[in-house]
Symmetry: C2
Subunit: 338 residues, 2 copies
DNA sequence: CGGAGGACGTTATACGTAAAACCTAGGCGG
DNA sequence: CCGCCTAGGTTTTACGTATAACGTCCTCCG
């Protein structure tokens, strides 16, 4: 409270405590065992408290050569899902003294399309969702440690990948629906080029291919309730035997399917079973509640961060996909008599 | 591609281009008009490109004394709303060469309850939502430029405030409902101590107080669909004449009210009108679609960031609350005969 | 033809921190 | 009583950048 209006530095603290700047750094950095007496240490801490001293992060980062900050690249934050991923990642990060800065989607943020420029921070590593595909090339340029989320393990050029076990999720959905007796399926697919959605399509086709007498129609829509509604409406209005079950890539698409069904006068689950994927708040808000595959977004973020920390520390990242599980609610039932 | 594995510095670029480090800084910082010839400038740029040079942000921040990074403090990201706020803030920030780092909610992130420690970055300013109230004391400690979102202008100790015109939103809701003929109201309130929710309660009471023959019952619930459902159910089960309209502090609460209504066998909007506030994706997913007050989250974030930029540059921030507007959908109708 | 600028750079320095290298008593074993 | 160790510090340096202050030539005008 003496120098003026500029923030106090470690030198100011040193002066106030009557020691050298080095001593301050030692004490505040907890490196003083056997180097500084307990009494002076306390004096330093006292002075720091009184001045309201906060170390200058920029200077520390420069000195240390790292920033304990990582970048999380995600698509636009239009659902709770990636908010959950962020929360999980940030939690683990905080436990290890790291910060997480977000780079949400190349579109919509502004002219600076360069994640590294726009995330104004010096970075130690990157976690990137494969859905933010166009940011990838920029990222690969730098040689920062990289963890890919929801990404093809084979196509990630050696980057560590952390994935949800979507394949198993789709398996659970199809087992459930086939077990109920459904045979004619509509796949309401997300209109996004991303590995995680390819997996859904592939596994669904593979599963149904194993069962004779099944049919599978696919229709694509952007992830928006209204787009999903219109796509579903036209698909259902087509001639021929109507599908009895709609498998959606995502809960929002499922909400669109609900609206289409209402417009067409079809009742869920009596005339039509619908499944989602995500388990957003939306899933239990609609009526009937949605049978869907629950993805643990926070765990996903945690695992991503843990993997990145492992890479940064030269350890081997944990192997294995993150389990997901079907939660059966009121939107699925046996098909009515054909 | 020569020095080894460590990142190239401006000195490496200088050496490669055969100039001094200062020249590199001049050229890359666009301060070279009349100081460096176009040919050498191009040589420098070329060298920088070849080496894949990126300036060390930590060093730059140290030198410059600022970081062009601001902190956005928000409650947990459990709806799209604050994701929108972030997106808007980040867009404006990017246009001005700023980065935004997020500090979501003191709970849930980890042991580091200090926003400044956990947001590992050196900061130039802070935008804070009043809903993250417990972080505030920590923030007030530092004397960073501060913009408060959704906060009592009178109680913000001189910090700049940017607010949505919630008062007008509630006015629109009550006008709409009163116009339809409703007289008995239930206020489903968010169980959060925050100015923005107090405003809702206050304005609603004031508005109805002006109209003789109206009644207002209030019930509080945490912002979760299930909590809202049970709270609503018990409120509606109480004896006495049943409310004909439920005004909810938020769309999620409204979704809970829907479920309560279904359980009690009440039809919306025939037996019960319901209004929300936010206009989340949820609002159009439920049936009937929700009459609600649309809050432009991105604009909110933009205005917050613009205000902070104004403060940082010593300009006067733009005055005036952000307009909101009622969007009437299927969840409101005249009350059935008393 | 002398010197006053421009054009084109370079040298030197400071930002605040962490930590290696160095200093100085005092105590103590041999 | 010498040498060495240890406790308790201090001096010094480096991190990479931006920029103020300082040199050169070369040109051109009076």
């Amino acid at each position: 409270m003496a120098t003026g209006s500029t923030r106090p530095t470690s030198r100011d603290v040193a002066q106030a405590a009557g020691v050298s700047q080095a001593a301050v750094s030692l004490v505040l950095g907890d490196k003083w065992r056997g180097r500084v007496s307990e009494t002076t240490a306390e004096r330093v801490r006292q002075a720091a408290r009184e001045l309201g001293y906060r170390p200058n992060l920029a200077a520390r980062n420069l000195r240390l050569g790292h920033t304990r900050t990582v970048l999380l690249v995600v698509p636009a934050l239009t659902t709770e899902f990636f908010a959950g991923v962020y929360t999980g990642a940030a939690r683990i990060a905080a436990q290890h003294g790291f910060g997480v800065v977000l780079y949400p989607s190349p579109e919509g943020i502004g002219p600076a399309r360069d994640p590294f420029a726009s995330a104004q921070a010096a970075l130690d590593g990157v976690i990137a969702s494969s859905m933010a595909a166009d940011a990838l090339t920029a990222i690969r340029g730098d040689q920062l440690p990289l963890v890919m989320l929801d990404s093809d393990p084979a196509g990630s050029h050696g980057a560590t990948t952390v994935n949800l076990d979507i394949t198993d999720g789709i398996r659970q959905v199809t087992d459930h629906l086939l077990g109920l007796g459904h045979r004619r399926f509509l796949h309401l697919a997300a209109d996004i080029a991303s590995w995680t959605f390819e997996v859904r399509a592939h596994e669904l086709a593979a599963r149904l291919g194993d069962v004779p007498g099944t049919s599978l129609l696919t229709v694509r829509a952007p992830i928006s309730i209204d787009d999903a509604r219109t796509a579903t409406e036209t698909a259902l209005a087509a001639k021929g035997p109507r599908p009895t079950a709609i498998v959606c890539d995502d809960d929002k698409l499922a909400a669109g399917a609900y609206k289409a069904a209402r417009r067409l006068g079809l009742r869920i689950p009596d005339d039509l079973s619908v499944t989602g994927l995500d388990d957003l708040a939306l899933a239990t808000a609609i009526d009937p509640e949605l049978t869907t595959v629950r993805l643990d977004a926070e765990l996903f973020g945690e695992r991503g961060m843990q993997a990145l920390l492992a890479v940064l520390e030269g350890r081997e990242p944990q192997q294995g996909d993150i389990p997901v599980h079907l939660v059966v609610r009121g939107s699925t039932a046996p098909p009515s008599a054909p």
